[in-house]
Structures are given as structure tokens and as C-alpha cells.
């Protein structure tokens, strides 16, 4: 590992976060925002934009990127598979399925006669989640619970069973999505497609708090198991001999990662690619010791989403969805890395 890699990653992350704060259609000045706050000005446009729009947006990008990269890294270790992503076990598909069902239900409710039913659905707010987000989250949890139940039927949690069960469940959800699309109105199709492309352009502190509550505790739990992931890298038997409770580790990883991913997906949509490429990119710089790899993947994941979100705002006149940018910018970068750096893992 090059010794400078961790430092560079952290500096780049901070720089991109700062840049993200200063990027947008309105040009604002931090100095003026500070003045407005200090003098307690009645009209404080700079301060307002900074704290209500830019800060949440940057924080969401950092948190979602960090969480997805960490979940990807952990799933790759858990499933012992380089292709694993936070979405491999169907979480994103189930989130999308949930969002679709909610959209259709809301639409039906909007046309229904009974006003109370309608207002409950349209204006309900379950601990900071809109109805669509809450439904996405609930469907994710169902998927996670069901896969866990299936995998638990065996004496040991087999990565292959987990993987195949997850992929199968994902296909179910995709079929459900197609069914919903079949029944949907054109306007709903547009809305939903936009949701699927992801976005961190949410306003105010509330979504940020939701993500902090969803991501930070899970991240701490996962980081505390970093040493055990290293052991698992040499196979479950060796890990068990080293004192790792392999079954417990698998269960904790699976549940924590899934929960974290579910919160992220239901808030900002299924932003793709971060969870796959960021851990691999960081691995190629720092090596595979998880105590270093995991925290740096989080930093790099946050940095990557900040970068993509800046690009989303700057590349064209109209803002484009971040989910498109992650693949368009991340893909080529990752392919270059694949060819240039030596990838000895999983050989």
C-alpha cells in the first residue's frame, strides 16, 4: 500500500465536499452567509441556500456514498464474491417495487371518494419518510427478512445460498415492477423512472437526519468487525479456528448492510455503481486489510457521490439524475483502473 493513499483519499473527500457546497444554480458566498448568520439578518438568502439546500445535499451525497461503498465492501467479503454490491441480494429491486406499489396506491387514493383515506396517504409521514419512501423501506425489509429466513434453514449460512436466494428474490421484485408498470399511467411512469435514477436533491435537515440514523450506527457495527472480515477472507474454517463466530458474523453483516442499504435506497433511490466500484478502486490503492479498506471506502464513496452530484449540476443546463452520472463517469474510470493496476484478489 502506498502510505500516502489514505491521506490523499481523505483530502480529496473534503475538497469535493467543499466544492459541492459551492456548486449550484444560485451563486452564493460563504462569507456573506456567515455575515448573515452573525448579524442575525432578517433576509438571509445566502445562509438559507447554504443550510437548507447545499448542506443537506452534500451531506446526503457523503452519507449515501459512504454507506453504499461500505455495504458493497462488506457484501464482497461476506459473499466472498467480487461482483457483490449492496443491491446483489435484491434490495434495490424490492425498494423500487415498494415505491411503485405506493405510487399506484396513492394515485388510486387520489381518485377515490373517501377524503380521509386520500389525505392519510398523500400527507402521511412515517418518521420522516413519505409514503413512497416508507413503502420502499418496508418492501426492502420484507426481502431481507425472507432471505434471512431461507438461509437460516441450513445448518450454516452458505454464501452461495444467500446469493442465489437474493438474486431470485430480486427477479421476483422485477416481475412485480413490470406488473405495476403495466397498470401505471404515463405520468406515473415518468415519475417512477426518475425515482429509479436516484437523487440527493432533497431539502432541509430531515432527510439528512434519517440517513445519519440509518447509516452511522450500522457503519460502526461493520467497522468493528473489520478484523473478522480479514479472517473470513481465508475461508470460514480458518476464521472459525481463529475465534471468529462465523455464523454470527455472517448474520450481523447481512442484516446490518441490508438495513443500511434499505434506508439509503428508500431516501435517495437506488443509486448504482458506487457499491461495486468504490471498494475495488480503494482496494487497488490500499490493499485488502479491512481496517483500512472499509473506512477509506466510506470516504471514497462519499467523495465519489459528491463528485457525481457536482457533475450532475454542472454538465448540462438542466440537472441530470445522479444515478446516470455514477455509471457514466465511474465506469470508464474503473475500467482504466482495472487494466492499469494489478488486481490479485480473487484470482
Amino acid at each position: 500500500m502506498s502510505r500516502a493513499a489514505p491521506l490523499i483519499i481523505v483530502i480529496v473527500t473534503l475538497a469535493l465536499a467543499a466544492a459541492s457546497l459551492l456548486t449550484g444554480t444560485e451563486s452564493i458566498s460563504v462569507a456573506r452567509a456567515w455575515d448573515e448568520w452573525r448579524t442575525n439578518a432578517d433576509v438571509a438568502p445566502n445562509w438559507h441556500i447554504l443550510t437548507q439546500q447545499r448542506l443537506p445535499r452534500t451531506m446526503l451525497a457523503l452519507l449515501a456514498g459512504a454507506g453504499l461503498a461500505l455495504a458493497g465492501c462488506s457484501f464482497q467479503a461476506l459473499l466472498r464474491n467480487p461482483l457483490a454490491t449492496p443491491y446483489t441480494l435484491g434490495i434495490a429491486s424490492w425498494g423500487a417495487f415498494g415505491a411503485w406499489v405506493a405510487t399506484i396506491v396513492v394515485q388510486t387514493a387520489a381518485q377515490s371518494e373517501t377524503g380521509s383515506f386520500r389525505s392519510v396517504l398523500l400527507h402521511s409521514d412515517v418518521i420522516g419518510f413519505s409514503f413512497v419512501q416508507a413503502a420502499a423501506f418496508a418492501f426492502c425489509l420484507f426481502n431481507v427478512g425472507f432471505i434471512y429466513f431461507l438461509a437460516n434453514q441450513r445448518e450454516r449460512l452458505s454464501p452461495a445460498v444467500l446469493l442465489l436466494a437474493g438474486v431470485t428474490m430480486g427477479m421476483f421484485a422485477n416481475a412485480g415492477i413490470m406488473l405495476m408498470r403495466f397498470f401505471a399511467l404515463p405520468s406515473q411512469l415518468v415519475n417512477m423512472d426518475r425515482w429509479l435514477m436516484g437523487g440527493v436533491d432533497l431539502l432541509g435537515a430531515e432527510p439528512v437526519i434519517t440517513l445519519i440514523v440509518g447509516v452511522v450506527p450500522c457503519a460502526i457495527v461493520l467497522l468493528l468487525h473489520a478484523g473478522q472480515f480479514d479472517q473470513l477472507g481465508f475461508g470460514p474454517e480458518l476464521a472459525a479456528g481463529r475465534g471468529v463466530n462465523v455464523r454470527r458474523l455472517q448474520a450481523i453483516t447481512f442484516l446490518t448492510c441490508s438495513l443500511m442499504t434499505a434506508v439509503i435506497v428508500s431516501k435517495v433511490g437506488p443509486i448504482g455503481f458506487v457499491g461495486l466500484i468504490v471498494p475495488h478502486a480503494v482496494r487497488s490503492l490500499t490493499g485488502s486489510r479491512h481496517r483500512i479498506l472499509m473506512p477509506l471506502s466510506m470516504a471514497a464513496g462519499g467523495a465519489f457521490l459528491c463528485f457525481c452530484d457536482i457533475a450532475a449540476r454542472q454538465l448540462f443546463d438542466a440537472e441530470i439524475p445522479i444515478g446516470i452520472i455514477t455509471a457514466v463517469l465511474g465506469g470508464p474510470f474503473f475500467l482504466v483502473l482495472l487494466v492499469r493496476r494489478r488486481f490479485t484478489d480473487w484470482d
Partner: protein, 267 residues
């Protein structure tokens, strides 16, 4: 630190399978070098997993210093008993030194930080397994035998009281085979309890104080005792289900075991 691992009357079968072991008993004790031998599929690895607490026996007891294995915490157990599986399947590429340091896991704190002492131990174990010159190499790029020596070093770095090793020399050259067995014997003389599964009956005869012979045909062990007692032609032939001849090793004067192919025997 002395330790005593006892399996008594152990029986085991895998999910919905034939019984693999029945009424198997073995003692692994500090300062002793025990061998487990027998044909392919006779349950050697299974027995070692049971001894290491990785599998729970269907009946019989396994105790470590008088305490039932199942009641000992994973970490506590790993501090006293180390287990080297027959094969490891690495997914991540670490350097040799990092790989050996992984052996320190049961001794590390919650954050997994290596102390200078941990590094010293790792260096010493690298040296003991004759892989100091490999320390900067990527584990994934090593040859089969080099990997095996590095894995042995990482098991030694665990600094357990008892070592359970599943075929630790199966890919080693003649020279390293003897060196590793000699190292294990010296470790036993220094107070470690060592148990190896091996297919090399001659090395077992030369180095082990005790051997347990498992049978290909039945889940019950065939014989147990000193190599001279166990490695008798009739006993071995029964275990392997094919004639095996025993003579005397020309230099060591221990039993010298050889097998001939069936086609030659029938002539």
C-alpha cells in the same frame, strides 16, 4: 501454559449422511506429538474439526482442560487451540507478513491494532517456518508449498497451547517436510501439544509419539498407540483395505511403510 484436550467416545455424521466417526477417543496434551492417519474419507479432518470446536459431536464429549468445548467462547478457545484447515481459499491478496499477522487475531483488542510485540511474534514465526525471505511477497503469488509454510507460520503466530494441523506438509518438498515435522517435534518438546493429520505414515512413524489410525471401512478407529504398535502390517492392511508392507527404516529404525499397486500384488 499446559493444556489438555480430550475427545471421548465421539460419534459424528454429516447432515443426513452415513456415520463418519463412532466411538473415537483421543488425547491432545501439552508436550505430546500426536498423529491422526487413515485413508481418504476416513474422517481425519472431521475429527480434527471436532477437536477444534468447529463441529459439535453427535455423541461423546470434547473437553478442554476439563471444560466442555461448546461452553468455551470462540475467542478464548482460539487463544488456546489453533486449527489449520486442510485447504484455505484466500479471496483477498495480502502480503505474506500481513497474512502471518492475521494469526494474532484472538489476541488483539476491539480495534485490531497490532502492537510491536505482535509484530515480533509474527517475525519469529516467519523464521520458524522458513519463510522470512517471502515476507514482502503477495500471498496469492506463492507456490503451493510456500503458501503452506506461510499458513503454518500464521498458525504459530496464534501462540496457542495446542496446535491442530490438517495435512500441514501435503505440498512440501522432502526437505521441508522433514524440517516442518522436526519443528513440530521441537515445539512439542518445548511444551506445545501438537496434533497432525497426515498421509505420510513414515514421517508419522518417525516423529509422532502417538498415532490414531482411522479406518476406511468403518467409522470406528482401528488402533491407537505408539507408531511401533499401530503400524503393523495386519492393522494397516485392515484400515486401508489393501495389503501394506512394513519393514524397518534404514536410518531411523522406525517402522517403514510401503504400499504396492493392486496390479503388482495379484501377480
Amino acid at each position: 501454559m499446559s493444556a489438555h484436550l480430550i475427545a471421548d467416545g465421539v460419534a459424528f455424521s454429516y447432515e443426513r449422511g452415513q456415520p463418519v466417526l463412532n466411538r473415537a477417543s483421543i488425547n491432545i496434551e501439552s508436550s505430546e506429538f500426536t498423529g491422526i492417519v487413515g485413508p481418504n474419507g476416513s474422517g481425519k479432518s472431521t475429527l480434527l474439526r471436532i477437536l477444534g470446536g468447529l463441529l459439535a459431536p453427535a455423541s461423546g464429549t470434547v473437553t478442554l482442560d476439563g471444560e466442555p468445548m461448546a461452553r468455551i467462547g470462540h475467542r478464548m478457545r482460539a487463544q488456546r487451540v489453533a486449527f489449520l484447515p486442510q485447504s484455505v481459499q484466500p479471496t483477498f491478496s495480502l502480503t505474506v507478513f500481513e497474512t502471518v499477522c492475521l494469526g494474532r487475531h484472538p489476541h488483539l483488542g476491539a480495534l485490531g491494532t497490532l502492537t510491536p510485540h505482535d509484530r515480533d511474534v509474527a517475525e519469529r514465526c516467519l523464521d520458524a517456518a522458513d519463510c522470512t525471505d517471502l515476507r514482502r511477497r503477495e500471498f496469492m503469488t506463492l507456490s503451493g508449498g510456500e503458501r503452506q509454510r506461510v499458513m503454518l507460520a500464521s498458525i504459530l503466530a496464534q501462540e496457542p497451547a495446542l496446535l491442530l494441523l490438517d495435512e500441514p506438509t501435503s505440498s512440501l518438498d522432502v526437505h521441508h517436510q522433514v524440517e516442518i515435522f522436526d519443528l513440530l517435534r521441537r515445539l512439542a518438546e518445548d511444551g506445545y501439544g501438537v496434533c497432525v493429520v497426515t498421509h505420510d505414515l513414515n514421517l508419522a512413524a518417525q516423529f509422532c509419539g502417538n498415532v490414531l489410525l482411522l479406518s476406511g471401512g468403518s467409522p470406528e478407529p482401528v488402533a491407537q498407540g505408539t507408531p511401533v504398535d499401530v503400524f503393523a502390517e495386519t492393522t494397516l492392511s485392515e484400515a486401508y483395505g489393501s495389503p501394506i508392507s512394513v519393514s524397518e527404516h534404514p536410518i531411523e529404525h522406525t517402522p517403514f511403510i510401503s504400499a504396492s499397486p493392486r496390479s503388482r500384488q495379484s501377480r
